[in-house]
Symmetry: C2
């Protein structure tokens, strides 16, 4: 029964649903390529725990791994994050269209598209 063809977005959003992993992505975004140790250093989790988190990010396509001797170096993979962002952006476009139809919240529209 269980063969549940997982949408890639399932993995992406799930990976983003944990604060430790989001912080790892932030570190990668700020510093560029990092090793597994560097990614884990801010947390007081055990090393295998960090390893697991990294695997989740990797499965989600959010980071890519490059093995360099005994170091595993990671960097952000922009595509995956962009797809997540695009999904939300599409929703929000629909949503604002719906709002226009209904005439609700007209004062509340926080920002415009474009960017």
């Amino acid at each position: 029964m269980a063969i549940h063809y997982q949408d890639p977005l399932d993995h992406t959003f799930h990976a983003l649903g944990d604060g430790t992993r989001r912080q790892m992505l932030t570190i990668l975004a700020e510093r560029g390529e990092c090793t597994a140790s560097e990614l884990g250093q801010p947390f007081r989790a055990a090393q295998p725990t960090i390893s697991k988190h990294i695997r989740v990010l990797e499965r989600a396509g959010l980071v890519s791994r490059r093995v360099d001797g005994r170091l595993h170096r990671f960097r952000l993979n922009p595509d995956s994050m962009r797809e997540a962002q695009d999904w939300i952006a599409r929703q929000r476009r629909f949503w604002s269209a719906t709002l226009d139809q209904l005439g609700e919240f007209l004062d509340n529209i926080p920002d415009r598209e474009s960017g």
Copy 2:
């Protein structure tokens, strides 16, 4: 062990990590306010299952509920989704800045024509 003060983004991204829930949000975005039944109708899940999914969306702040007699009417809550999108957007801004600074991408392009 640790009381883990959940970041609101944890709930938001977790809620987005399930295809059924994402589809519910799409329905809401397309049709505007919907009842619980309308949200569940496309799926062959049991009614309590739908009810649970809706609660997850609600906990995440992605939808808001308005009880109207025996009908529960839901609509999208834009703020929550926008915060998720903003988080990603910030990451992506950092990321591209990092790329610019380090120029590391150039080193790693695996094969180029000619040299």
